[in-house]
């Protein structure tokens, strides 16, 4: 196992570059890709060790700069997929993907089914989510539950550099449309990555073992959850932290197995709590095991600009720890 230290952003860049080298059908399409993507996530490491834009290696016909036309970017990707390509779609932030929702929800997600399996749409839509740098109401949303609700879509939320490498590789190979939701505050997160590791879609990861409650989370909230678990451990509460990694299909077996041991489930996510995906997990566990469940998500408010407002929408380690204590009545 060869480990390489890289950021969450670079991990995705390396995974995409490897896929493009291996398969001429893989193309990337979106705004500002030529210079490496708006967050620099369309770059890979050159022989001299510097990061360079993928377009330099693969040319402008495979790393395609586009007009600001989200509907057409997503729709064109559907057409590309039907004509034999495997497009990676860049939406900049998930908030902008709403301009291409018909193309993703009514076209990409439905195509294989409604045409009776005549075609497949192997596209990966990268739609970064989350609070980031005081970006306020239209650049900060976490909308993963919307996509988990749509039959035909795979939904992936990587939380670590390793997973952003392995899950993007898996998404590129899965053959169906994938809503691939990276978190904007994780771009700079550095860690060791095994680029040979294969990660299966739909498999959760136990990020920390514990016996007192199961804490299911994903994306950036994983790190808040781990921080909360460390604090709780100092108080004698052992939380088992599960990084769900893929929201659809989600690893029900892993979550149920953990809850069967701990007898308590707390789900924590950055998305608005009301009708969030945590509700689906909580309901499933309650139905299957009858054990007590709790949810923790953002209040149902748009994300405000000022730090005092933005922080109201944050699901931080302190809130997670407090929710766990209240749950355990400690």
């Amino acid at each position: 196992m060869a480990l390489t230290r890289m950021t969450y952003s670079a991990a995705a860049g390396e995974a995409l570059a490897a896929a493009m080298r291996a398969d001429a059908r893989v193309v990337a399409i979106g705004e500002d890709l030529g210079r490496g993507g708006v967050f620099g996530q369309y770059r890979s490491r050159a022989a001299d060790g510097t990061l360079r834009a993928l377009q330099q290696e693969f040319g402008s016909s495979r790393v395609i700069d586009t007009p600001i036309s989200e509907a057409n970017i997503m729709g064109a990707a559907v057409g590309m997929a039907l004509a034999g390509l495997r497009p990676v779609v860049e939406m900049r932030v998930i908030d902008f993907a709403l301009c291409g929702m018909d193309e993703l929800v009514n076209q990409a997600a439905k195509n294989r089914y409604m045409f009776g399996g005549q075609g497949r749409v192997p596209l990966v839509a990268r739609m970064p989510i989350g609070l980031w740098s005081a970006s306020a109401a239209q650049h900060s949303q976490s909308l993963e539950a919307w996509f988990a609700h749509i039959p035909g879509l795979v939904v992936v939320c990587p939380a670590t550099p390793q997973d952003n490498h392995g899950l993007l590789t898996a998404a590129l190979n899965c053959g169906d449309p994938v809503a691939y939701l990276e978190h904007k505050e994780l771009w700079g997160l550095e860690d060791e990555v095994d680029i040979g590791a294969r990660i299966e879609l739909g498999r959760a990861r136990i990020a920390r073992e514990g016996r007192d409650l199961t804490l299911v989370t994903w994306s950036r909230t994983l790190h808040e959850s781990l921080s909360a678990a460390a604090t709780l451990a100092g108080e004698g509460i052992e939380a088992e932290v599960i990084d769900l990694r893929t929201l659809w299909p989600w690893d029900r077996d892993a979550v149920l197995a953990s809850c069967a041991r701990t007898k308590r489930l707390l789900v924590a996510h950055e998305a608005v709590q009301a009708a969030g995906f945590g509700a689906e997990i909580a309901a499933t566990v309650a139905e299957a095991l009858g054990c007590p469940v709790r949810r923790l998500g953002a209040p149902r408010i748009p994300v405000g600009y000022a730090p005092t407002l933005e922080s109201q929408a944050r699901v931080g380690a302190d809130r997670i720890a407090a929710a766990a204590r209240a749950f355990l009545q400690r």
Binding site: V27, S61, R62, I64, T66, P67, S69, A71, N72, M74, G75, A76, A77, V78, G79, M80, A81, L82, A83, G84, L85, P87, D102, E103, N106, Q107, N111, R112, Y113, M114, F115, G116, G117, Q118, G119, P151, G152, L153, V154, C174, G175, D176, L201, G202, T246, W248, P249, R252
Partner: protein
Amino acid sequence: MARIRAFEDAAETASQGGVQVWGMEASAVPAKVRGPLHLSTGQEAVAAGVCINLRRDDLLTSTHRGHGHTLAKGADMAKMMCELYGRATGCNGGKGGSMHIADFSVGMLGANGVVAAGIPIATGAAQALKLQGRDSIVACFFGDGAINRGPFLEGLNWAQVYCLPVLFVCEDNRIAATTPTKSMTAGKGAAARARALGIEAREVDGNDVEAVDRAAGELVALVRTGTPVLLHAITYRIKGHVSVDPGAYRDADEVERARQDDPLLRVRALLASLGEASAAEAIDADVKREIAQALATAEAAPWPAAEAAFEDVISTGAGQWR
């Protein structure tokens, strides 16, 4: 054209009867074609005149009113009728119906329930063809209502920016659902909007199949050199928006004039004037046989198995639980 007319007439007949809708009881005789059926009656010359200029390996995107495009592109009529009947042997396995009819085997990438949605898909398909070095083109049909949706601008701009081989065909039947398009469209329409982006555009009498054929032939040749073009074919929708809609909101005289200008009557008169009336009769006889066979095939075909409802959705972990 005769095949399209006959197919849609038969489908319309089969759509009459019992579907429980808007609180009304279903009649004793259930409809055989149950879902929304958007007929292109009166518009057949556009589908035929354009598609005769396409190769089998050219691609096509269509609209909710897509039976004509599908037939003209070469799809099998019996499989199409099976699809309208919702049978397992339909071209979509009974999963799409009229509004989503598709036959990928002849390059027909799908009718579409969303106005203008085929436009971005067509541009992407053309971009893929170009990248793969294939010399096929994409024909993209849409209606006059579609030019007021954003994807029309996004798609035309896109096709022109990347010099893509797309023949945009605005099949202008002069009414968007139940609203006259003219009352809702600023400026001079589809061709003018295309020209504003530097795209060559031509207007044609969409009820004159010879004129459509001629224009499409010239434009397809241009598209094969690697440039998008637009054909604005002006026609008229003789029937309502959907088969249950009598279209009574329109001026009766206007509809009657359109009936007199029926493209099938025109082409029959043309054939007669050329001394080819017997050729038209032979076509009619063939079509009658083909329709009878398609209907019989559909009547006898099995329904999709219930399990099929869970097939052709995501492979990754799908079906583990519902």
